[in-house]
């Protein structure tokens, strides 16, 4: 039947049909455009229709999917569950399940379903929409990882901070509880740190002292003046410099904190209080000095009484009596020498060993010392020889008495420690800027390892200790102090059992 004039109903239907067709195309377009994988599934789980988004996620083509059961892409259990729930409740809101792709990869998806019925209300299937979670999962995982990394980092930072704080409090405790005073000056030489002992020693409050340079500090606190004098404005390096601050004696050391020569990172100044040590040292010296004085008087009485006896002032003595008295006298003399040496040492240590400089010829002093030793050399059968300087000696400014004493001490030692029949040679040499006196013997010598200790107080070499008990161990210590006070040097060259040469040199100032 040809329809030429359509009835209004027919027109209506035609319009409706058109609408329907366009709606269908709209639905299809939307379906295929939708980035979300969607399937229309029959009530027994056969996929009736799907969209390209599922192709993309599953790896199967649409043709491979349609007509297949849902288990093709979902697990059996998930499928059963989904169908059951959808049929019962009409829909399932986003349930997390696993989709297996064509190449057996597992993809996390969130599935939602919606039951479909026809006009008669009969169930014709359901829609299932899948929302891919992998990226989210990955992001989540990523997030979790970065969160934990962040937490770890935070923990590390926290730990570092705690360590730093601990370190700081430890350092600060060390600095605070040091018994020594400590000052730190920054690169501009301004005070940046002072510990309590330094505050106490210098009589200053840290608040007044910070950020001030040493000369600024010295300007308003007298105690800093001696420090400034020793260290200078720019804090030069010093080591254990002794100085007096008020009633205290302190030892100052300073060091640059900089890492290199150019980089002046500031300075560290350490103040060590030696007041007590100084006091003890002084008391010791005073004790020695007083004891020696007190000992000298009774020793003088013994000496005088014995010498009166020896000289027959109180009646003639028998030869035997005389011999005993003479021996007692010698012992007493030794005691006096020891006391005199102790007094000299005490004076050296007190800084009261005064030097009287006179213009003298070293050669004359050497000859005087040799003359004084002739008698004991002869007694011990030692040849005592003198070698004159080649050139004539100039006069030099020295303490003649003490230098003579030093030469005499060296000769007496040489005689004492050389077996009878040996030889002691004294020579004087003269260079342009120094004069040298040497005393050479062919005696017992000193072992290599003991040579550097020879000039220390009370030291006596072990081989010498064995052969003779006499000797104070002070002679060379005193000699060294005398020579060094003259700006000279004293030394020893020796070989055990072959002999020793003791020499000293004095500078000549033209």
């Amino acid at each position: 039947m040809e329809i030429t004039n359509p009835t209004p109903e027919q027109n209506k239907i035609a319009v409706l049909l058109d609408d329907l067709a366009s709606l269908e195309s709209y639905a299809r377009d939307l379906f295929s455009f939708l980035p979300l994988p969607v399937c229309l599934v029959s009530s027994i789980g056969i996929i009736l229709e799907t969209n390209p988004a599922l192709e993309k996620i599953s790896g199967y083509s649409i043709e491979e999917i349609i007509g297949n059961p849902l288990e093709k892409i979902l697990s059996k259990l998930d499928t059963k569950q989904l169908i059951k729930e959808t049929l019962e409740k009409g829909s399932v809101p986003s349930q997390e399940i696993i989709l297996t792709t064509k190449d057996k990869k597992k993809v996390y998806v969130s599935a939602s379903t919606l039951l479909r019925k026809n006009e008669q209300g009969e169930i014709i299937g359901f829609f299932i929409g899948l929302f891919e979670l992998t990226t989210i999962k990955e992001n989540e995982e990523e997030l979790r990882k970065s969160q934990s990394a962040l937490l770890n980092m935070l923990e590390d930072v926290e730990e570092e901070k705690r360590k730093a704080e601990e370190e700081e409090s430890r350092t600060s405790a060390v600095i605070t509880h040091l018994t020594d005073g400590l000052l730190v000056f920054d690169s501009q030489n301004n005070l940046s740190l002072i510990n309590p002992p330094a505050e106490k020693l210098l009589g200053i409050n840290s608040d007044q002292a910070y950020n001030k340079s040493l000369d600024e500090l010295a300007a308003f606190i007298d105690n800093f003046k001696p420090l400034l004098k020793v260290l200078g404005k720019n804090i030069k390096e010093v080591s254990r410099q002794e100085l007096v601050i008020g009633e205290l004696t302190i030892e100052v050391s300073s060091a640059s904190i900089g890492t290199s020569q150019k980089d002046h990172g500031g300075s560290l100044v350490i103040i060590h209080d030696i007041t007590r040590e100084k006091g003890i040292e002084r008391m010791k010296t005073e004790f020695v000095s007083i004891a020696a004085h007190q000992l000298r008087t009774p020793l003088s009485a013994v000496k005088w009484a014995l010498s009166l006896l020896m000289e027959g002032d109180v009646g003639e003595l028998s030869a035997e009596q005389k011999s005993f008295i003479s021996k007692s006298y010698d012992s007493n003399e030794r005691m006096i020498i020891l006391i005199n040496d102790l007094l000299d040492v005490a004076r050296i240590e007190e800084g009261r060993y005064l030097y009287k400089l006179v213009s003298a010829k070293l050669e004359n002093l050497a000859q005087a010392a040799i003359s004084a030793c002739r008698e004991i050399a002869a007694k011990r059968n030692i040849r005592l020889e003198y070698i004159k300087p080649e050139k004539e000696m100039p006069e030099i400014m020295i303490d003649g008495e003490k230098i003579t004493m030093t030469i005499q001490n060296l000769i007496e030692n040489a005689i004492k420690y050389t077996p009878p029949g040996g030889q002691v040679t004294v020579s004087v040499k003269y260079d342009t800027n120094k004069a040298t006196v040497s005393v050479k013997d062919n005696g017992v010598g000193v072992s290599q390892e003991q040579q550097n200790r020879l000039f220390t107080k009370f030291f006596r070499a072990s081989n010498v200790m064995r052969m003779e008990t006499d000797g104070t161990g002070l002679g060379l210590f005193i000699a060294k102090n005398i020579i060094e006070a003259h700006g000279g040097k004293i030394w020893c060259e020796s070989k055990e059992n072959e002999g020793s040469t003791f020499s000293f040199s004095l500078p000549i100032n033209h």
């Binding site: 003088s300 005088w304 009484a305 010498s307 005199n340 005064l354």
Partner: protein
């Protein structure tokens, strides 16, 4: 007439020994055992020479010399003084020589005989 020596020395053994030695050498000897006694004795006896210790009770040898110098009659230019001390400290030696002492002897380093010789060197016998 024998020359008069005053020994001012607080140690009795030393002054006895020295006194004996000087008497045997023909001197007249007076003994004083501290600085105050020494001053009294020298004013009363007008000795020809004084042997003077430094460290003594009451008045030290230094003070004795200082007081002697205040009176022209007893000044050290008039009465020679030889110091007999045991200190031997350079400052002490310098000071006594400055005050006018003729000599300084460290007792432990001299025999009585040598002291007598020093006395004779100063005033003869």
């Amino acid at each position: 007439m024998a020359k008069k020596i005053l020994i001012v020395e607080d140690d009795k053994v030393l002054s006895d020994l020295l006194g004996k030695k000087l008497k045997d050498a023909g001197f007249e000897v007076a003994l004083a055992y501290n600085g105050v006694e020494g001053l009294d004795s020298l004013r009363a006896n007008k000795p020809d020479l004084i042997l003077l210790d430094i460290m003594m009770p009451e008045k030290s040898g230094m003070e004795v010399m200082e007081e002697m110098n205040k009176d022209p009659e007893t000044s050290l230019t008039k009465i020679p003084v030889i110091i007999i001390s045991n200190s031997g400290q350079p400052v002490e030696i310098d000071r006594v020589l400055e005050l006018g002492a003729k000599d300084y002897l460290i007792k432990a380093e001299f025999n009585p005989q040598e002291v007598v010789e020093k006395v004779i060197k100063q005033i003869g016998n």
